[in-house]
Amino acid sequence: MWDQIFAAVIVNLQPSMLFVVAVGTVVGTIIGALPGLSAVSGVALMLPFTFTMEPARGLTMLAAVYMSAEYGGSISAILINTPGTSGAACTLLDGTPLTKKGYAQEALYTSLLAGTVGGAFGGLVLLFFTPVLADLSLFLGPAEIFWVAVSGLSLVASLSGKHIIKGLAGVLLGVALTVVGQDAISGDMRFTFDFYQLVPGIPLVPALLGLFAVGSILNLLENPEQSIAPLVMRKGALRFVCEKLMGMKLLLLWSSILGTVVGIIPGAGASISAFVAYGEAKRISKHPEEFGKGSYEGVAAPECANNAVVGGAMVPLLALGIPGSGSAAVMYGALTVHGILAGPRLFSERGDVAYTFMVGLMSTVVAMLIFGLLTIRWSSLMVHVPARFMVSSVLALSAIGTYGLRNSLVDVYVLTAIGIIGYLFSKLDIPLVTIALGLVLGNLTEQSFQQAVIVSMVDTGTAWLYFLKRPLAVVLMLAALAVLGSGILQASREASADLPAETGSAPTPRKRCWLNLRAANILLAIGFIALSAYGLVEAREFSERGAMLPRLICVVLILLAAILIFVNANPKTGAAQARVFPFSEVPWPLWWGVVVAFVLFGLAADRFGFYESAFVFLAATTWMMSAGEAGPRRRWLNPVLFAAGFDALLYVIFRLILAIPTPPGPLL
């Protein structure tokens, strides 16, 4: 083995190899940072270029894209509260608060260094433990995967903080969104309303992007003059972060292990690992109260885990021929096209390719680190951009990134719809992260449960015995219960700790508005009940298996809504809510203007061309937000110039470089 590794190191030091790793890293970081396009799309976009390369070289380039895209996703998450990849959805929870406090650079360094640790850990595990772990991955049946998914969902308790009822509702709504479409288990068409576009279901990345990016961008409308945050360029930021990370060695190790293991599990990838690592970090932290307000641990854990996934996902790919994640599936395709069959015989027949690739994975980690260190100073300048330019550009970027994911405009509509809903929900204190949690884990939970039940019926004659017959499943079940239990403890502690603070300091005086939080909560609960009632009626059409989860969601949601109504209608507990006006700061005319412009942009893109519509959208939105600017030049000319410039930039990146086939128009 050592001589093979040595030979692989020599190959990896060849200039041509270093070159492809460098190219892959640059492309991966940028694609990762672009909202919408995620690691999978990056790897897929680079796939054709590898066909003419030597197999190991092509594969290493794809790995470089995969690895650095998982880091790149954190850049936009930290700076503009927009998850660049689905694996970065947790990073923004603490990354954005850090940026708001002026610690953007520090947060970026934390993400980069933690990602490097995780990536290196996953890579080492891949290099030295692949055969052992590959066999281990064959012990995973649907029961085990179900409990892993449940322990993920159990994190809702620690993720929702003091809004536990709304957090639970959020996770249910997230899972409910994953129910839409054709059920893979029963084949039922659930909530498709006879639209063939809804048959594949609600796509994850556009939904996450809508929740976080569109939602937070609409929040920026409240003060169009400001930039996102002050940026303080501190000397010694890197050193400060290094010291911080040295203080959390155990956390980094645990996150690395979690990431690698989740990577090995078939069907689970970066986004799940990030949630699990974030939840665990909060659970075991000495300062759980800092989470969500700018905790370095909260940035380090998910970023460490989502990079560790890369090595983990390669274990079953190389040893068994089972790609464990979407990106790994594309790499499997790359191997196949070269006529190399990933599977049990890969190491004996093409050991050279396997080892060159595994060592190459380590060099992609180094490349990611170097490229990150070189660019962080510059990328953190992004927070200086004034909101009036930020709103239009992030929306346009999200739209084209989402489109590029599957070359589908339907995904852009999903982005818009979920973005608006997410914005309203965030105003009503529903923790968006719980919706994301449900979205990420919904399908895995339902499918593994139903599979386990079918297996159980065949093997044991009962629907549940299989879950208890397997030792590993029982261990994981206990782990899920432990996660849930300690999360509940933490949440109750948090709630009681927050209570005096809340009553002591009066909430920031806000303008009165026609809708207070109490009335809004009751309306929300009525909405939940109506939605659930509709769901229950629809579910009568489904098969027994397909109807189970929708029914469960509807019933629990009705219960939660009842509690919500009870708490708010009660004069004692509802009085405080009546003094809060969630929508009082919203500049409605501007809000409607931007939202309508965005919807029109999506509709017009199909007919008048993507870049033509984007120009009009960019100019119009920036103009709307420049109303307070002095002088016609700043009010009229700047928006048009900005729109032209940014549109040209989009055209260069997405059409000329990435060759994404957007709908053509008369000009472009």
Binding site: L138, G141, Q182, G187, D188, Y196, G267, P323, V330
Partner: protein
């Protein structure tokens, strides 16, 4: 004035289109319709990059590009087992600039099972050619209880619904192929759906499920882990001479998947003919055949008329299964 101009343009175009051979006479290769293709041709692949149909179409395009003399651009539009991408394809302009890889029976099943939620009808496809024919095989885990097809059938007959078969999603192509095997052998399995081939493979290797249907790629890649019990073709596969056919074992199971090229409805006849010839030339290339063998998707040619016939036959076979097992939603 405007109308006259348009008329003149139209007449010119019609004349140009009606005498394709003139400008291209003397060049080798199939006769091109005049001015076609004027720009890169878009190929919709309605699956994720890296999948089986994606791989085969990329190999095909590599050999077809020099013949056509234009770039053939792959656009992945995954969703609903291919149905989303085909729905977009049948809505494209019938100018031959948008084509798609069509993989019967994947396009046939949704049209039969859930016509209301499928964005196309079978008669909207212009079937141009078939370039690869991928047979189905039945697999079991090596070292498990099933060594031969006979073992499976005997066990399944004595223990109805106790044989667990992994498939790649309810009402998908694997699901149908498994049903066909149950039907022909007079057995009843319990099918367990997974989301995609990788997860079904994991389940079978892990022993969660007993058998699964798959292409010959697994026989090569998973040698020593998976055992091919039978192949659903008329003759044995020359690459897998040790694997018996269902027919020689006494069961009438014939199940293949096609890699074909399809276009929107009312695609001009000369474009269809042209692509049929391109397709033939590609399939006749020995390097193409070798590459397709390596990815487990053996090359095989059916021209426009034969492709239509083969797909119609497959549609009728599927229709019978749908009715027999009452699958329509």
């Amino acid at each position: 004035m405007k109308r006259i101009c348009l008329g003149i343009v139209g007449v010119t175009l019609a004349m140009a289109a009606s005498c394709p051979a003139v400008s291209w006479a003397g060049e080798s290769g199939p006769a091109k319709p005049a001015g076609y293709p004027s720009r890169p041709v878009e190929f919709i692949v309605p699956f994720d990059p890296g999948g089986g149909a994606d791989a085969s179409q990329r190999v095909f395009n590599k050999y077809a590009e020099p013949i056509v003399g234009q770039r053939l651009v792959i656009v992945n539009k995954p969703g609903a087992g291919g149905a989303t991408g085909w729905a977009e394809m049948v809505r494209a302009k019938s100018d031959g600039q948008t084509l798609a890889v069509v993989t019967p029976p994947f396009n046939i099943i949704p049209a039969l099972v859930r016509p209301k939620q499928t964005g196309y009808k079978m008669d909207q496809f212009t079937n141009i050619c078939i370039y690869a024919i991928v047979p189905d095989l039945l697999y079991a885990r090596e070292g498990g209880q099933f060594k031969t097809l006979k073992d499976v059938v005997e066990y399944a007959k004595q223990n109805p619904e106790k044989t667990k078969a992994a498939n790649t999603g309810a009402l998908g192509a694997d699901f149908m192929a498994t049903l066909l095997i149950e039907h022909a052998t007079g057995t009843k399995f319990t099918q367990i759906p997974y989301t995609g081939g990788a997860l079904a493979l994991q389940a079978t290797l892990a022993g969660t499920t007993d058998v699964m249907v798959g292409t010959s790629l697994y026989a090569m890649a998973q040698k020593g882990k998976l055992r091919a019990l039978a192949i659903a073709t008329d003759q044995r596969d020359p690459q897998l001479p040790e694997v018996p056919t269902f027919k020689e074992l006494g069961y009438d199971v014939f199940s293949e998947r096609y890699r074909s090229i399809g276009g929107p409805p009312r695609l001009p006849g000369e474009i269809v003919t042209y692509w049929g010839q391109v397709c033939k030339q590609v399939v006749d290339t020995p390097q193409f055949q070798a590459e397709m063998d390596k990815i487990g998707q053996p090359a095989g040619y059916r021209g426009p008329a034969d492709a239509q016939k083969a797909i119609d036959q497959m549609t009728r076979d599927m229709q019978l299964l749908v009715e027999k097992y009452n699958l329509a939603k």
